[in-house]
């Protein structure tokens, strides 16, 4: 950069040389530019390649029952990943999503099963709990000006403690009313069993994608994550946008709680403990930058699918579970390294 600058400042005809220096593009920088412009491109390619590779290794991988299983395994992390995406787009992070969703899930399952409330009312109470968890995170981040990492590390413990207290550390496995577990019901398309939960998840993805891409609020979410000071100077009320993101995330977590109950036909105190980090994994593998302002919600769905495909593919290939864990770890690091490289386009 400094080299280019001195070239421009030299008197005479060095200007063209300088422009050439600045505009120099190799195939590699062009690929980087493309990935920079379409953040969901790299996870889409990874997903495609991994499905093909696992299919070649073991054709059983691509049979309908197996694909159905993958889609069902992805439903919970995929749904909660939407909430995580919104928060990471603002430059934040939420370590408490799994605990908050499980807390909301217990409120839904327990009030419907043990207190015999109407299912609609139980779901509404779950939604309120989800909103409350998001509101608390959001207020601590925006009003107390605490870093999201620390806030949600704290609320992770708080929500976990609350859910253990409320559930007496016991699972709810029997007698859950049909509407509460309804998202786990399946229907068949061309031999593939699809749950209503998976369909509902895709619908929510589509809605959030439209909101992010085509409403002013969505644009402000990106602007706030990109450069909060620039957003403020442009007249965006940064704290209001941030608070609204945490509250919307809370609502999405309540929806994830409903998915959780449908997936397991009930709920247990530890059902969400792995989701806290898995949702971050899905977002990161999906090409969303942890620095905020760059990424798409569809990328997160791809990221969740990649994790599902890798775990299932390695299992079908007959490898031990530890290799699944290893593979996901490598994926995360590769994804973040790729993001760092892509972001160099700015300079």
């Amino acid at each position: 950069m400094s080299e280019a600058k001195t070239a421009v400042n030299q008197p005479g005809g060095d200007r063209d040389l300088a422009t050439e220096f600045l505009d120099r593009s190799t195939p590699l920088t062009r690929i980087r530019g493309l990935l920079h412009r379409y953040p969901a491109l790299s996870p889409a390619l990874v997903l495609l390649v991994s499905v093909v590779v696992f299919g070649v290794i073991n054709p059983r991988f691509v049979n309908p029952a197996n694909l159905s299983l993958i889609s069902q395994q992805v439903a919970v992390v995929g749904t909660i990943g939407i909430a995580q995406t919104l928060i990471i787009l603002t430059g934040g992070i939420d370590l408490s999503v799994g605990a908050a969703a499980t807390l909301a899930g217990f409120v839904i399952a327990q009030t419907a099963t043990n207190n015999h409330l109407p299912s609609g009312l139980s779901l509404l109470l779950g939604l309120l709990v989800g909103l409350a968890t998001g509101l608390l995170n959001g207020v601590l981040v925006t009003r107390m000006k605490l870093p999201p990492f620390i806030v949600t590390l704290g609320t992770l413990s708080i929500y976990t403690a609350l859910l253990l207290l409320y559930s007496n550390s016991a699972s709810i496995e029997t007698g859950v009313p049909a509407p509460i577990v309804g998202l786990g019901n399946t229907f068949s398309v061309a031999g593939v069993q699809i749950t209503f939960g998976v369909v509902a998840m895709v619908v929510v993805y589509a809605i959030v994608a439209v909101i992010l891409g085509r409403t002013a609020w969505g644009r402000h979410v990106y602007a706030v994550g990109d450069d909060p000071e620039a957003a403020r100077l442009a007249g965006i009320r940064v704290t209001r946008v941030l608070l609204s993101v945490y509250i919307v995330a809370g609502a999405l977590l309540a929806f994830g709680a409903w998915q959780m109950i449908g997936r397991a036909d009930g709920i247990g105190p530890n059902d969400g403990s792995s989701v806290n980090l898995e949702s971050i994994t899905a977002v990161v593998i999906g090409g969303t930058s942890l620095f905020g302002g760059r990424g798409t919600v569809w990328g997160t769905l791809l990221g969740a699918l990649i994790v599902g495909v890798f775990e299932e593919g390695l299992a079908v290939a007959g490898l031990d579970v530890l290799y699944q864990v290893l593979a996901v770890g490598i994926l995360v690091i590769v994804a973040v390294a790729l993001d760092q490289w892509i972001r160099k386009v700015r300079k």
Partner: protein
């Protein structure tokens, strides 16, 4: 709002009422006097440069004009009416747009999105009123038209993310945003400080285009050649006061610097 042909035109404009006027502004920070009774008038269709050494009160003056600071004493008149800005948004709402030194653009958003950031337009009908959808195509078309009207030819594609642009082009986006929405006054804080020669020239051309559209500009700059190229009048700050207001036609660059540093004084 008709085109003013060139720099000399504005000198006769002093017969007009000023668009923005500051009267005896005082601003102190504890025992430090930032502004010590500074007055300033900005007339329609002129470029007023503000120069001064570090600590002379340039920034404080600009902050008081744009709502970033509230003056302790003195008054501010916009179109002859007293105004009181308590925050930058107040000044913007009144039609004073500021382009900050650190470029208030959002790097990952495209050119059109940046022009409309914070004032997005919605689609007509229920798609806009109920579903809150933005008129993305309309904003892009309008952005192209605004850039063209400002004579910014280097930005062909308004869908390019701003981070892919050169420094001069980014500055052009920031200036275009300030000028595009019927603003009464555009304030530019060191717009060429971070730019190369060619890019600086593009920004200076842009400033001249603003003037020819009748939009008055306040330009803060350390760069004397740039100031003398575009300014109609030069307000020289020294030690918290206005040492003089001169025109480039009557004073040379070295005289202006001499006034700025106190080596020369002007008797009004």
């Amino acid at each position: 709002m008709n085109a003013m042909p060139d720099a000399t035109a504005s000198q006769s404009d002093e017969s007009l009422a000023p668009i923005l006027e500051a009267r005896s502004l005082v601003k102190t920070y504890g025992r430090v006097v930032g502004l010590d009774g500074v007055s300033l008038k900005l007339y329609p269709g002129e470029v007023l440069a503000i120069i001064g050494d570090n600590g002379a009160g340039k920034s404080t003056l600009i902050k008081c004009l744009t709502g970033a600071e509230i003056p302790d004493e003195g008054e501010l008149l916009l179109d002859g009416k007293p105004v009181h800005f308590r925050r930058p948004q107040d000044a913007r709402a009144a039609g004073i747009e500021t382009v900050y030194q650190n470029l208030a653009v959002s790097p990952a958003l495209d050119v059109a999105a940046n022009l409309y950031l914070g004032r997005e337009r919605r689609l007509k009908g229920i798609r806009g009123s109920v579903f809150r959808l933005m008129d993305i195509k309309g904003m892009r078309d309008q952005a192209r038209a605004e850039l063209k009207a400002l004579g910014i030819s280097t930005l062909q594609d308004v869908t390019v993310p701003v981070e892919n642009l050169s420094g001069g082009q980014r500055q052009a986006v920031a200036v275009a945003r300030a000028a595009a929405f019927g603003s009464k006054v555009v304030v530019l804080d060191e717009p060429t400080a971070a730019l190369g020669v060619r890019e600086s020239n593009q920004v200076l051309e842009l400033i001249k285009n603003l003037r020819s559209k009748g939009i008055p500009v306040i330009l803060i700059s350390h760069n004397m050649p740039h100031v003398f190229e575009v300014a109609d009048r030069i307000h020289i700050q020294r030690l918290g006061k206005c040492a003089a207001t001169v025109t480039p036609a009557e004073y040379s660059m070295s005289e202006a610097v001499a006034i700025m540093t106190g080596a020369q004084t002007v008797v009004h």
